[in-house]
Each structure stands twice: as structure tokens, then as C-alpha cells.
């Protein structure tokens, strides 16, 4: 056993830190750690990363991938999150990019991959529907073939950052008569400026409007925007959702929030001195601390296992436990901020600092972690079936 990074890996990590801290503007990182990232921040940081070959390291090499070892990939996401950099847009880099690279036509690869890596195209994920959430295969949006086009009708919802979307990858029903509901679905690429597309924002529990719903009324998209084979969309979607789950544990982000929280607690007064001296607070902090250590050690074990070429089934566990830890930290941060933290939005300067002032909003917002990306109950189902055989 060995917990020491090899000199080569340490050098690799230091190189990452140089770019993350030296090349990404500080105000971009600051807004990101406060949960106030703007569209421009995401575009800026992804383009800087792309310039340094760090936006899409896990893609195939010819499209910008780096062929890293699992350890290097682990260091990459951990350091990125720790540095408080907006994540490269997941819809682009973890979802549609790898799908196009794997299953797309040569023409689609040329047209979309470089633009997707550089965030010249902002992608949105059009999977969920009002009647198809956890049971995604029950979706009803149809794509009827009409000559050189598919005609799209239906509704998509919960589309994250869809307000900025240029294109959407849509899962739609191309064969309504297929015997099983998982069959007869296709994976389509839709230009969101096509006539017949309507988008509406949905306001969330924290007052933000990061998700949207989309309505399709006889939207015509060319058949060349079909990815892979018609009616094989479900298998591509599953491939994609597997990618989505990786990194959703966000251990690096938790480590950063932990550091911020501990620092804030040394400044925050209570009746009996700084909060950092309060035994109850310290006990709660210790519970999170040990969980984060256990999670990182688990992540390292998973990394090591995949280094031997075996995929580990433990990634569902990382999603489950990692999101719970992050949610618990957000609760602790809100409690630590007290009434200052109850402000969803304020112009008033607060002695407890900006992070305290957004802690309730962040707490509320992060409830989403256990719902999306395959809800935590769905992950339990996966573990029960694939690992425990129940």
C-alpha cells in the first residue's frame, strides 16, 4: 500500500495547479465557489482549459483526449474542484461529446467535436419529461420520419442551463410500436433555433432559474442529425448516464467547502467564543471529515481497480455517499452562518462574508444532488441488483 504520489504524478498535479490557479481568472473562481457562476465564467474557464488541453482529457486522443492514467484523471477532477473552477460543461464534455466520438458519423465528429470541446456550442440535455423521470424509458416525445427530416413533437423538462443552450441532444421515440419501451428510441441532435421550439424557465427552490422546459411543435430536424442507428438510442443514453455518474461524488469540491467552513468558523462569534471552539460543531465537522477521508480512499481504490483494467461497480456508491456528504456540508455551512445565511440575496455587506450570505441558497440548491444523475434511490437499486444480487 502506498499513499504517496509518485514524483511523476506530483509533477503532473503541480502542472494542473499552475493552469487552474494561474490561468483561470480569480473572480471567475470566486463566483464559482459562491455558487454565482455566470454563463461567461463557464465559457471563459472552459476555453482556457481547452487551450491547455485540459477541457476534454478523457475523449479519444484524436479529438483532444490525453490518454491519462486513472490516477491522473482522479487528480484532474479533484484539483479542478478544489481550485473552485467552474466544471467544464458536463453536457458537452461528459455526455454528448463522448457519444458523438464513439457512435457519431465522421461528418458529425468534424462538425461538432472541436466546437463542443471549446464551448462554441452550448449543449443541453433533453432526456427527462414530465411523465418520464426515474423511469426515463417511458418518455413520449416522438420523432416521426418525414423524408429527409424527423418531425419532433412533445415536451422536455428539467433542462439544466437550457436558457443558454445552442443545441440539444434529445432522446425521442422513433418507433411507437416497439415491443419494449426501451426499444424504438433514437438519439437526435437539435438546433434550438429551429422553428417550433419554445423554451420556458422553471424557478427553483432557491429562487434561481437554472432549469427550463422545452416544447416541440412540429419541429423539423434533418436525418443527418441522428446519432448512430435509429431506434438504438437507449444504449447510447445508458453509456452517457454511466459517464454522468463518474465524478458526481465531487470529493474535491467537498474538501474546498470544508476548508472554507473551518476558516469561517474561526471567525464566527458565538456566545462562548468562536464557533470553531464549539464541541457540537466540532463533532459534526469530524463526522464529515472522516466521511471525506473514507470517500477519497474509496475513490483511490476504485481508481486502482480500474488501473488493472476492471471497471468497478462501486461508482454508484460514490454517487450515493458523495452527494450525501456534500449535502451534509451544505447544511453545516448554513447552520454555521446562522441568520446571516438566511439571506437569499442581499446588497448589504455582511461581517460573516459572502459565503455565509449564500449558504441557505446553496443548501436548498444542493438538494438536487440526490435527485438528478439517477436519484439516490435508483443508485440503491443498482447496487442491490449488480453488487448484492438482491
Amino acid at each position: 500500500m502506498d499513499l504517496e504520489l509518485s514524483p511523476a504524478d506530483r509533477e503532473f498535479r503541480d502542472g494542473l495547479r499552475e493552469v487552474f490557479l494561474g490561468k483561470i481568472p480569480e473572480d471567475v473562481r470566486r463566483r464559482s465557489t459562491l455558487g454565482r457562476t455566470t454563463r461567461e465564467d463557464i465559457v471563459t474557464s472552459q476555453r482556457v482549459l481547452n487551450q491547455h488541453g485540459l477541457a476534454v482529457p478523457h475523449w479519444p486522443r484524436e479529438w483532444g483526449g490525453r490518454g491519462w492514467t486513472p490516477t491522473q484523471s482522479h487528480l484532474y477532477s479533484a484539483e479542478l474542484q478544489r481550485a473552485g473552477i467552474p466544471q467544464p460543461l458536463a453536457f458537452n464534455v461528459s455526455m454528448v461529446g463522448p457519444i458523438i466520438a464513439e457512435f457519431g458519423s465522421a461528418e458529425q465528429k468534424r462538425k461538432f467535436l472541436p466546437a463542443t470541446a471549446n464551448l462554441d456550442i452550448w449543449w443541453s440535455q433533453g432526456f427527462s419529461e414530465p411523465e418520464a423521470g426515474s423511469d426515463l424509458a417511458g418518455l413520449r416525445t416522438t420523432a416521426r420520419r418525414d423524408g429527409d427530416h424527423y418531425v419532433l413533437n412533445g415536451q422536455k423538462t428539467w433542462t439544466t442551463l437550457g436558457q443558454y443552450g445552442d443545441w440539444m441532444f434529445v432522446l425521442a421515440r422513433t418507433d411507437p410500436d416497439a415491443p419494449r419501451k426501451q426499444q424504438g428510441l433514437s438519439f437526435l441532435l437539435l438546433d434550438l433555433n429551429t422553428p417550433g421550439v419554445e423554451r420556458r424557465p422553471i424557478r427553483l427552490i432557491d429562487g434561481s432559474a437554472e432549469v427550463n422546459e422545452f416544447f416541440f411543435d412540429d419541429v423539423r430536424l434533418p436525418v443527418e442529425n441522428l446519432v448512430g442507428e435509429e431506434n438504438k438510442g437507449w444504449s447510447y443514453a445508458k453509456f452517457l448516464l454511466g459517464n454522468e455518474r463518474n465524478g458526481i461524488a465531487q470529493i474535491g469540491a467537498s474538501q474546498r467547502i470544508y476548508a472554507d467552513l473551518a476558516a469561517a468558523a474561526t471567525r464566527r462569534p458565538t456566545e462562548d467564543g468562536p464557533l470553531a471552539g464549539d464541541p457540537q460543531f466540532r463533532a459534526a465537522l469530524h463526522r464529515v471529515k472522516t466521511t471525506l477521508l473514507a470517500l477519497e480512499a474509496t475513490q483511490l481504490r476504485v481508481t486502482a481497480a480500474s488501473e488493472n483494467g476492471k471497471a468497478s461497480p462501486v461508482s454508484s456508491l460514490l454517487k450515493l455517499e458523495g452527494t450525501q456528504a456534500l449535502q451534509e456540508l451544505s447544511l453545516l455551512r448554513m447552520r454555521a452562518a446562522g441568520s446571516d445565511g438566511m439571506l437569499l440575496d442581499t446588497e448589504a455587506p455582511l461581517p460573516s462574508g459572502e459565503a455565509a450570505a449564500v449558504s441557505a441558497a446553496q443548501y436548498l440548491n444542493l438538494r438536487k444532488l440526490s435527485i438528478f444523475g439517477g436519484s439516490n434511490e435508483i443508485q440503491r437499486g443498482v447496487i442491490a441488483k449488480t453488487i448484492l444480487g438482491l
Binding site: M1, D2, L3, E4, L5, S6, D9, R17, F20, L21, E26, R29, R30, T33, E79, R82, A83, G84, Q255, R256, Y258, A259, D260, A262, A263, A265, T266, A276, P279, R282, A283, L285, H286, R287, K289, T290, T291, L292, L293, A294, L295, E296, A297, T298, L300, R301, A304, A305, V314, L317, E321, E377, R380, G381, I383, A384, I387, L388, G389, L390
Partner: protein, 385 residues
């Protein structure tokens, strides 16, 4: 960077697993702890033949001089069968104290015997009603004789000798070697919550020999820290087996005409047991790797690591013990069921070597609490903005 076993270490696990498994069929722990000895003599012989009793003893003293990973693998395999042989409390822990504190003569006499498995030594530190972390109330007179009460002392009824902590006339804590047959010893035997043998031992002017002549505080802290990490491995083995029994039970036990595994509420609880155990395993392996780094000269906080790992694993062990009994229903409440013994042993582990409350107290008082944690050595100072 790697938290996996080598092939040799994996082989060690399998060997111990098979050997102990043969001696522990269903009902094994109940039979072993119910015997005069308190464990299985046949399994003890086998452990000796396999060299496990010599694992922590250096080659100079006829041992294997193995590291913390071998300790982990052997104890995880013992835990899997809820085996009661006193490898940790009767051999490993005393061997660490003797190697650290003892004179060359003491080490030369005692370590080869421990390594051969021909003797066990009970470490007597806890005192009734007294916090673990305080200096003992037991005193050592100028002539070395001891007076005081120690309890609980595990497997004291079979030990040939005791290592007793006591404070001398100058206020220094020392560790004293006492022959079990020495005068002035009164023993009251009983059972622990896990049915392991345990005693209250009273010393009244009992002749004793001090281990070495330096202060013992640092050596005690290190040895107990090692023991806390070692016992997390046993807990992992127990939890892994407890989970497997529970999963099997859910598949086979029928109620309302269907297997229990049909009920999602139960399945999800089993999954939570699995995921907590998996995290606990990572924590135990991580702490083991930190000890290994320490033994290789790394600048690591061994006691702090041991407290963090012990607290985490003990909390998980408590939850798992409760869940595996609950999911077995009434049968899990019976002395006859193995799952009950696994659960009881897990609970006993949470109170070992000072227990989870005192470990948590130290951990939350530590300055290290306010530093963002990282399992990677030297990575804690982060790139945070």
C-alpha cells in the same frame, strides 16, 4: 498511490480465512467462548503453525517481522468468522509494548514465546470507573510491587502474564510485567458483551518488573493507536460476513408468500449497510497504509489517524450491528444465530482500547480538525484560492 493488497497479502488472507473457517463452523463463536479456554485450541495451534502469532515479532526474536498490512489481513480474516483467539490482545499488543519498552533481556525472553504462540499476555490498562486517557490509579512502590484494580482485562483467565500500567512514586507511568501466579492477585472472571472472557484483576503488593526504565506514555499511545487500527480490520471482516448472511437471509426467508428481498424498503437498508461497510473498509485500509508510511519513516500523525479511523469504523459497526439483527427479525435475537454473535462482537469492538467516545473526544479536540482532509499524504495543503 495504491490501497490494494499485494499477491502475498491476499494469499495470507485466504490462508487464514480457510484455516479459521474450518475451526469455526456455524455456532463456532458460541462454542469457543463457552469453552473453558474461551477460544478454540485447535484454531490457536493452526494460527501458530501458520506463523500468525509471530507476525508482529521481529525476525531477531523468531517472528515474521511483518507490517501493518499483514496485521490487517490476518485480523480481517479472523473477523469474518467472529473467531475468538486472542491474536490482537494476547500477542500483537503486548509484543508492541515489549519491543518498544522492554530491555534486551525482557525482549529476548518474552518475544520468542509470544511468536511461538506458547504464551499469551494480557494487557491490563483500563480501570473501573476511570477514564482511559488518565494516568492509572494503580501504583508501583519503590520495590516495583503493584497495588490497584484493573478491569476489564480480556482473556486474563488464560494469560500467563500481565502487562500492567501503573504510576511510580515519582509520578511516571510505567508498564510492569507480572506473572499470573504471583502473590497478591485476586481475579474475578466474567464475560464481555461479545461473550469473550474478561476479568477484573486486583493487585495487592504484587511483585512486578518494570519494562525498561524510561517513561511509557509515548509507547503506550503508539501501541494503543496501532491496536485501534488493527481492530478496525477485525470489524471489517465481521461486517462483511454479517452483510453476506443478511443478504442471504433476505433472499431465502419468505413472508407473505414471497422472499423478503421483494420488499424494497429492506433491500435499500441492506444497500446502506453495504455502502457504509465499503466506506469503513476504505477507512481501515487508509489508516493501515498511514501506519505503514509511519513505519517507513514518513512524517504522519499516527495517533490522530487511528482515532479518525476508529471513530468512523466504530460508528459504522454500531449501525451495521443493529441493522443485521433487525433484518433477521426474531432469529437475529437468538444466542444460537451467528449473526447475533457478529453483532455483539462489533459492539464490543466499539468499546475497545478506550472506546469510541474517548477517541472522538481526542479527535474533535485536535487542531487537525480544522484542516481540509485528504487521504493522500502531503496533499492536504490544497490549491484553494
Amino acid at each position: 498511490m495504491n490501497l490494494e493488497f499485494t499477491d502475498d497479502q491476499r494469499l495470507l488472507f485466504e490462508t487464514v480465512d480457510q484455516a479459521v473457517g474450518r475451526g469455526y463452523p456455524a455456532g463456532g463463536r458460541a462454542a469457543a467462548t463457552g469453552s473453558e479456554l474461551g477460544w478454540s485450541d485447535q484454531v490457536w495451534q493452526t494460527l501458530g503453525e501458520l506463523g500468525l502469532t509471530g507476525l508482529t515479532v521481529s525476525a531477531d526474536h523468531d517472528g515474521a517481522g511483518a507490517g501493518p498490512v499483514e496485521v490487517y489481513t490476518s485480523l480481517a480474516a479472523m473477523g469474518k468468522h467472529a473467531a475468538a483467539e486472542p491474536l490482537l490482545d494476547g500477542v500483537y499488543l503486548p509484543s508492541w509494548l515489549i519491543a518498544e519498552l522492554g530491555t534486551a533481556e525482557q525482549a529476548g525472553q518474552l518475544l520468542p514465546q509470544l511468536a511461538a504462540g506458547s504464551t499469551t499476555i494480557a494487557v491490563a490498562h483500563a480501570e473501573p470507573g476511570r477514564p482511559w486517557g488518565l494516568a492509572p490509579a494503580t501504583t508501583a512502590a519503590a520495590d516495583g510491587s503493584l497495588t490497584g484494580v484493573k478491569s476489564p482485562v480480556r482473556n486474563a483467565d488464560q494469560a500467563d502474564r500481565f502487562l500492567v500500567t501503573a504510576v511510580d512514586e515519582t509520578g511516571r507511568t510505567g508498564v510492569y510485567l507480572v506473572e499470573a501466579t504471583a502473590g497478591g492477585i485476586t481475579r474475578a472472571d466474567g464475560r464481555a458483551a461479545d461473550w469473550g472472557h474478561t476479568s477484573q484483576v486486583e493487585f495487592a503488593g504484587t511483585p512486578a518488573a518494570r519494562l525498561g526504565d524510561g517513561a511509557a506514555d509515548a509507547a503506550l499511545r503508539m501501541a494503543f493507536s496501532r491496536a485501534r487500527v488493527a481492530i478496525t480490520a477485525e470489524a471489517i471482516g465481521l461486517m462483511e460476513a454479517g452483510l453476506a448472511m443478511t443478504v442471504e437471509y433476505l433472499k431465502t426467508r419468505k413472508q407473505f408468500g414471497v422472499p423478503l428481498a421483494t420488499f424494497q424498503a429492506l433491500v435499500h437498508r441492506a444497500v446502506d449497510v453495504y455502502s457504509r461497510v465499503e466506506l469503513a473498509r476504505s477507512m481501515a485500509l487508509w489508516a493501515t497504509a498511514v501506519i505503514e508510511a509511519h513505519d517507513n519513516g514518513g512524517a504522519v500523525d499516527l495517533p490522530g489517524t487511528a482515532d479518525d479511523a476508529f471513530v468512523f469504523v466504530a460508528d459504522v459497526a454500531t449501525a451495521v450491528a443493529e441493522e443485521i439483527v433487525q433484518l433477521h427479525g426474531g432469529i437475529g435475537m437468538t444466542y444460537e444465530s451467528d449473526v447475533a454473535h457478529h453483532a455483539a462482537r462489533l459492539i464490543a469492538i466499539t468499546e475497545s482500547f478506550g472506546g469510541v467516545s474517548s477517541a472522538r473526544r481526542r479527535a474533535i479536540a485536535s487542531e487537525a480538525l480544522l484542516v481540509a482532509p485528504s487521504a493522500l499524504l502531503g496533499n492536504a495543503t490544497s490549491a484553494a484560492p
